[in-house]
């Protein structure tokens, strides 16, 4: 009830923010303007410099290895780049598009199921008690072990592959949404109640917006699992993109196309993940970035 020590500290922290964000964030070290003069700054202090060094080294090692061992073991970088062009000009991308369609369908179904379930689990203790043993058990289960069962149930076509994606993708968004909703500030809940918020609107106006950064993080992690499920499902039954990957690795071996396809898949996954990360950052509550008092 009385202004506590914590509040005083918070007020102090606010003051720091007003002086400039940098001071607050990097309070461990001296401010940037006082950085050591021209002495110990090396390439290791720069994130991008470091990346250039490491990635450049890997690419160089790749190219040298490929040139020494020959394309039967490892295609050169130029050959792989030509392979990417090939994937599109030879029409292989059609298989990839069909695969991505299954991914999108499965992933969207997974989210449509996971977010409401997670929200209800986070909100109601008895739902949590009821469902969490199942969710936790399936979460740590090797989903690959369910593939034969899914083939029996759905065959090897569209719905089998979609189901694999769902089963891989669904758990992270459930668990994260539940955690996000569970830890919504008690004060915010009380406030919403004081303003006569109906139980349904509590979810849409309070719980889910408050938990949004958690939810999006769950979506991002779930997407990674969905990609994994997509590739494994097709490799298992040798269909679609999985069949291409398998074919390129067998005789007549086309590792240039194999690497090209892998790079395209990884690039797609990284792109989506980065977009979701950006969304996550935007959803974080705005803290004081300007001195406005």
């Amino acid at each position: 009830m009385q202004p506590s020590k914590a509040e005083e500290l918070r007020a102090e922290a606010d003051d720091l923010h007003i002086e400039g964000e940098r001071t607050a964030v990097t309070s461990v070290g001296p401010p940037a303007t006082l950085a050591p003069i021209g002495s110990s700054r090396s390439i290791l202090d720069h994130k991008w410099g470091l990346r250039l060094l490491v990635y450049g080294g890997i690419l160089l090692a790749w190219q040298v290895t490929a040139m020494v061992k020959g394309e039967f073991f490892l295609p050169t970088i130029p050959a792989t780049l030509a392979g990417i062009v090939h994937i599109f000009s030879e029409g292989y991308y059609v298989e990839l598009l069909a695969t991505l369609q299954q991914l999108a369908t499965g992933f969207l179904i997974a989210l449509a199921v996971a977010i409401p379930i997670g929200a209800v689990m986070g909100r109601f203790r008895f739902v949590e008690d009821l469902l969490s043993p199942w969710v936790n058990t399936l979460f740590v289960t090797s989903k690959e072990s369910l593939l034969p069962l899914l083939i029996i149930a759905f065959g090897v076509a569209f719905w089998y592959r979609t189901w694999v994606v769902i089963i891989f993708a669904v758990f992270f968004p459930i668990i994260n949404t539940a955690a996000g909703v569970r830890y919504v500030d008690r004060e915010l809940k009380e406030t919403a109640r004081a303003f006569a918020t109906s139980p349904g609107r509590m979810f849409t106006r309070v719980y889910l917006p408050a938990a949004a950064p958690f939810v999006v993080a769950g979506i991002r992690l779930g997407f990674g699992m969905a990609m994994k499920g997509m590739v494994i499902a097709e490799l298992w039954v040798l269909q679609g993109t999985g069949e291409l990957l398998s074919r390129f690795a067998r005789a007549p071996r086309r590792l240039d196309l194999y690497y090209a396809l892998v790079i395209i898949i990884v690039a797609f996954a990284v792109m989506v993940t980065e977009i979701l990360k950006a969304v996550e950052r935007r959803l974080r509550p705005v803290s004081s970035t300007k001195g406005t008092s």
Partner: protein, 259 residues
């Protein structure tokens, strides 16, 4: 005058998490607040005044007794009562404008009218230039103005305030007190204002209700003699100092080390 609050024989206990048994915070509370009155509840921290305020709002159900407003039994929170919280409790993902609109959304007010009504109260609390700011970008005093605007936007007949100025610095507190009085004097709502600051209670209130003990009882009700509109000079008047001392002696008589 409409808006009369009647608290009848209210009792409330809380379960203790670590020990057996329960902690009785309120017992046999009777209080009548006439409509249009500015009523301040004062008492030491933990005396149950915030609990009583929440019972009046319907946020907490009493174990015994009841609260009636204009004769009608309070069964839960209502948008006819605006609540202002000590820690502001703004929704951090909403702008100032959207925070002020929160109650209006629950009332089902259409968008255009909602904006208009919200802007009107935002102007009332002098925040026109900060409509699109987020709470985290505002100082404590400004956040509490938003909290006040949010409560006023639904045009409630009662304003319930839980130590609303307890978390801001002294100067801001005094400014906010004066602004609150200006706004209140124009609207004549019934206000129930919880505070542990005796001077604040005397400066703002028509009626000061002193609570103490555990379980807590109302030990004194003081009718504040200062007129309206209340002049700033009241803060320095000998009458206020005398009343403050009187209330303090009342509270000290019941003070324990624990309290």
């Amino acid at each position: 005058m409409p808006g009369t609050v009647e608290v009848v024989n209210v009792a409330k206990s809380f379960r203790r998490s670590s020990e057996d048994g329960s902690l009785s915070v309120l017992n046999g509370i009777d209080l009548r607040i006439e409509g249009g009155t500015f009523c301040c509840l004062v008492g030491p921290s933990g005396c149950g005044k915030s609990t009583l305020l929440r019972i009046v709002d319907g946020l907490i159900k009493p174990d015994a007794g009841e609260v009636r407003i204009d004769g009608e039994l309070v069964t839960g929170p209502s948008l006819d009562r605006g609540f202002v919280f000590q820690q502001f409790n703004l929704l951090p993902w909403r702008t100032v404008l959207a925070n002020v609109e929160f109650g209006l959304e629950n009332l089902g007010v259409p968008k255009g009218e909602r904006h208009e009504r919200a802007r009107k109260v935002i102007k009332l609390v002098d925040l026109e230039d900060f409509e699109s700011f987020y709470p985290g970008q505002l100082s404590g005093g400004m956040q509490q103005r938003v909290g006040l605007a949010r409560a006023l936007a639904v045009e409630p007949s009662h304003l319930l305030m839980d130590e609303p100025f307890g978390s801001v610095d002294d100067q801001t507190r005094m400014l906010l007190q004066e602004e609150l009085l200006t706004i209140w004097e124009q609207s004549q709502k019934t206000v129930v204002f919880v505070t542990h600051d005796i001077e604040e209670a005397l400066f703002l209130g028509d009626q000061v209700v002193v609570m103490r003990g555990r379980p807590s009882r109302i030990t004194r009700i003081i009718d504040v003699p200062f007129g309206r509109p209340r002049a700033d000079e009241v803060r320095g008047s000998p009458e206020l100092a005398a009343l403050k001392l009187e209330i303090w002696e009342e509270l000290r008589a019941g003070a324990t080390v624990e309290g």
